[in-house]
Amino acid sequence: MVVGRDKCGEQRLVSLPLSRIRVIMKSSPEVSSINQEALVLTAKATELFVQYLATYSYRHGSGKEKKALTYHDLSNTAEESETFQFLADILPKKILASKYLKMLKEQKQEEEEEEENSNDDESDEAES
């Protein structure tokens, strides 16, 4: 369990700044007000989430032998785990630029082929 310490050295319940958590929560337009308990719980939940995402990605990741946690491990988690699926958009899989260009080219070719096909259809229609 992660516990922060304040200036007096006393244990604090949450180490993430509540003011910042509140700003993020309030940035959601449908939210009107949040009571203090809900704010504290959301901050605590976020801490648990960070721990869970890190340990899950590390355990299922490729860097265990190298003792490393990489972006790849995280994007893999987002792609493969049902629970972390909501992160897929902000943790996209990285690909090489050359690979991407090749993909684009293939896509273009496919589209062109489709266009040719539809052109064929049109000409067929015109003929009939």
Partner: protein, 147 residues
Amino acid sequence: MAERPEDLNLPNAVITRIIKEALPDGVNISKEARSAISRAASVFVLYATSCANNFAMKGKRKTLNASDVLSAMEEMEFQRFVAPLKEALEAYRREQRGKKEASEQKKKDKDRKTDSEEQDKSREEDNDEEEERLEEDEQNEEEEVDN
């Protein structure tokens, strides 16, 4: 309302510390991985808020409360967080109760202090009166001697 986009970021130092404490010692966390987890945490807050807000709306309440957040965790398939969160909530409530009692105690102490100060004052007044009487007595004695 957030003025700048960076207002929606969580402090990197705190996020890094939480990650380090969760992983075994000596694991290297790439800079990219850190910022990715930090972004993920912000998205988590928004997702949780949105889910909790749905529960508040269902309950026809305008203010998000603790039970809305707990229900949101279940909905988001983070049931594993519910037990530790309930513990944290208990601890928070204990802390608040403690603070309230402490401030009430402080107030009581203060009241008692002002009370005793007033008593001291009135005692001083008593002393003055006594002294005056003594003086009077002395004067009387003098008068008697004269006579």
